[in-house]
């Protein structure tokens, strides 16, 4: 039997493509198997994944810490809800939310240029903190503390699907689109510019990268993703109230991003799954258990696995690749090279985050 050589880039691409196809197939199959409540949970995972992916673009790939993405999420959710209440068909209620949050993200990205690290975290935290009171204040528009109710999308006759399944596939379509878009962005010139700025802003500037443009655009895209996710959450949940968009939402997004894998494309998916299922499981123990798990995991992850779940998987993949790679013929008399010396990619040096520009 021919030995599979995973070190060969062509083989790697094929394996990865196969993996993606499999993943997609499973995703499509899932709602046909599970009960509506599970499907609802899976749909929520996809919604969160989009939001966390947006945060990942900004924080993971561009190095700008945001503790305020819950605000964009909220704006997207409320925009969609208000438009749906006004009679707009639900599909048409998402694009305006996307555009609005894109603009708002750009707007916040401008002052953010002057802020770095924890200071940016502070300001974005403040934005998140201000969001529920603001929502309550403009109660004419938002329904105030009483909240807003919308009728959830109904599956059309011709699909033959149940409502929860229809919703799931809609959201899945959005998820696939946004993930594909994000991947393209990361691999494009703009994406490389974002990453360069994250790694060394001064060097990026000397290379001629237009910092302001790239950073504000990153903010805008990232906010838009969160806004789209918010709009989708309105479809899925059907009810919004200001208190469901408290500061904790923003913190949870960041936690999910880190646990899932900072600076990776699929990390947000793992993180979102964490967000939905860990509280679900641990809440049986105690209301506070999810928080304890998350907090402890965040801290431990920073000690031992800064690359999150995605990072661990990647390390496993690298080991697998080096284990199956053919050993090069040593020159006569020399020692054979140690295992692992033929790995095509090496994780970043100790002290930094494991970066994955190719996922």
């Amino acid at each position: 039997m021919r030995r599979i050589n995973l070190a060969d880039p062509a083989t790697q691409r094929r394996v990865k493509a196969l993996g993606l196809v499999l993943l997609l197939a499973v995703a499509v199959w899932l709602p046909t198997y599970y009960v509506p409540y599970r499907v609802f949970q899976l749909t929520t995972v996809l919604v969160y994944a989009i939001a966390v992916l947006g945060l990942g673009l900004l924080t993971g790939y561009n190095g700008q810490i945001s503790l305020g993405h819950g605000a964009f999420y909220a704006v997207g959710a409320y925009t969609t809800a208000i438009l749906m209440e006004a009679g707009l068909p639900y599909l048409l209620a998402i694009p305006p939310a996307a555009v609005l949050t894109f603009i708002l993200g750009f707007g916040l990205g401008i002052p953010a240029l002057r802020l770095h690290g924890p200071y940016l975290g502070l300001v974005t935290l403040g934005v998140a903190a201000v969001t529920p009171p603001l929502l309550k204040r403009f109660s004419g528009l938002t329904g105030g503390s009483m909240g807003l109710s919308v009728s959830k999308p109904v599956a059309p006759e011709w699909s033959g699907l149940a409502n929860d399944q229809w919703l799931y596939y809609l959201v899945l379509a959005f998820a696939v689109a946004t993930f594909a878009l994000a991947r393209n962005l990361i691999h494009s010139r703009a994406g490389r510019a974002m990453i360069a700025i994250r790694d060394n802003e001064l060097a990026a500037r000397t290379m001629g990268i237009p910092l302001a443009r790239v950073k504000t655009r990153a903010f805008a895209w990232s906010a838009m993703y969160a806004g789209i996710a918010g709009g989708l959450s309105t479809w899925v949940i059907g009810f919004l109230s200001p208190d469901s968009f408290a500061v904790t939402v923003s913190i949870q997004f960041l936690a999910a991003l880190v646990v899932g894998g900072l600076g990776t494309i699929f990390g947000p998916l793992f993180g979102a799954a964490f967000l939905v299922f860990v509280p679900n499981v641990s809440q049986n123990i105690n209301d506070a258990a999810p928080g304890i798990a998350f907090g402890a995991l965040l801290i431990l992850a920073m000690y031992v696995a800064p690359g999150g779940i995605a990072g661990l998987l990647r390390t496993g993949w690298i080991r697998l690749v080096s284990a199956t790679a053919p050993r090069p013929k040593p020159p006569p008399g020399a020692q054979p090279p140690p295992v692992g010396s033929t790995t095509p990619a090496t994780p970043r040096a100790e002290g930094g985050l494991t970066v994955d520009a190719e996922q």
Partner: protein, 293 residues
């Protein structure tokens, strides 16, 4: 006019509370260059300990005293055990650790004491005092007095004692400090211990007003951040002044600016933070950070 003065004075009182948490933030920032997002939660946890001791029948001042000492020790422990492994790592990692700490402590408090809101007895007499025609609550004066005392003690510690000299030296120049034999790691831990104790004070003072629940300190934290930013993150005196300014501004804005009212008060510190960071990033008293290439 009387309303104005009353609002200023009560603003000073809430400002004093923000100031004490802000001083804690600055203490940690000066010694370890870390913005501790978990400072508020640490204070909240300490407040719960006071509450628990009170529940068990301890007299108020004993409960507070024991808790302050316990907070001091806890602060040292947290720095040595949780923060030390990531000291010197990139900023993002350290920020995430303090956020993880925030989540963890918040959840721990909820786990031990549940998320039910609790009342905390006020140590102050519920009376008003007449100060030159203006009625001021005893609690307001009490808060101002306590914070002034603590800040004064800290000042004496840092400016006039050998330990204070050593703490400042370890914060300014850890390398040279080691060369003269100072155990810098323990000095940093001491900074965290002091910060934890001072921060605990802010929680203890604010609990009778805000009522105790695990999320009590989240908004106070934002006000404290505003205060520290306004004062310059490396200036304890600035943090105090910043806290007072934030408190008074917040109160006056809530009273006189209709659109803000009491529920949007939190916009005030937000705008302050943004304004300061954009116009004068080093705050009123801080030192401009030199960009290290």
């Amino acid at each position: 006019m009387e309303l104005f003065i009353q609002q200023v004075i009560s603003g000073l009182a809430s400002g004093a509370i923000y100031a004490s948490l802000a001083v804690a933030l600055v203490l940690i920032y000066r010694s370890t260059d870390i913005v501790n997002f978990a400072q508020g939660e640490m204070a909240m946890f300490s407040t719960y300990i006071v509450w628990q001791l009170l529940q068990n029948g301890a007299p108020y001042w004993l409960a507070v005293g024991v808790t302050l000492v316990a907070s001091f020790i806890a602060g040292i422990a947290i720095e040595r055990v949780i923060i030390r492994p990531v000291e010197g790592r990139p900023e993002l990692i350290v920020v995430i650790v303090t956020i993880g700490l925030l989540i963890l402590i918040n959840a721990l408090a909820g786990y031990i004491w549940s998320f039910q809101v609790r009342g905390v007895p006020s140590p102050w007499v519920a009376r008003n005092v007449d100060l030159g025609g203006v009625r001021v609550g005893v609690s307001t004066l009490g808060i101002l007095a306590v914070v002034a005392l603590v800040v004064g003690l800290l000042f004496v510690l840092f400016a006039r004692t050998r330990l204070g000299l050593v703490l400042r030296a370890a914060a300014e120049n850890p390398e040279s400090s080691r060369l003269v034999g100072i155990r810098v790691g323990w000095m940093l831990a001491l900074g965290w211990g002091l910060a934890a104790a001072v921060g605990a004070l802010s929680g203890i003072l604010v609990a009778p007003i805000l009522f105790l629940d695990p999320n009590m300190m989240l908004s106070v934290l934002i006000f404290a951040f505003a205060a520290a930013t306004l004062g310059g993150f490396d200036s304890p005196g600035g943090a105090v002044l910043g806290g007072l300014i934030v408190g008074v501004t917040e109160n006056l804005a809530a009273t006189y600016v209709d659109v803000i009212g009491t529920d949007l008060k939190i916009i005030v510190p937000m705008l302050l933070i943004v304004a300061v960071l954009l116009l004068r990033p080093q705050g009123l008293f801080g030192h401009a950070r030199v960009e290290r290439a």
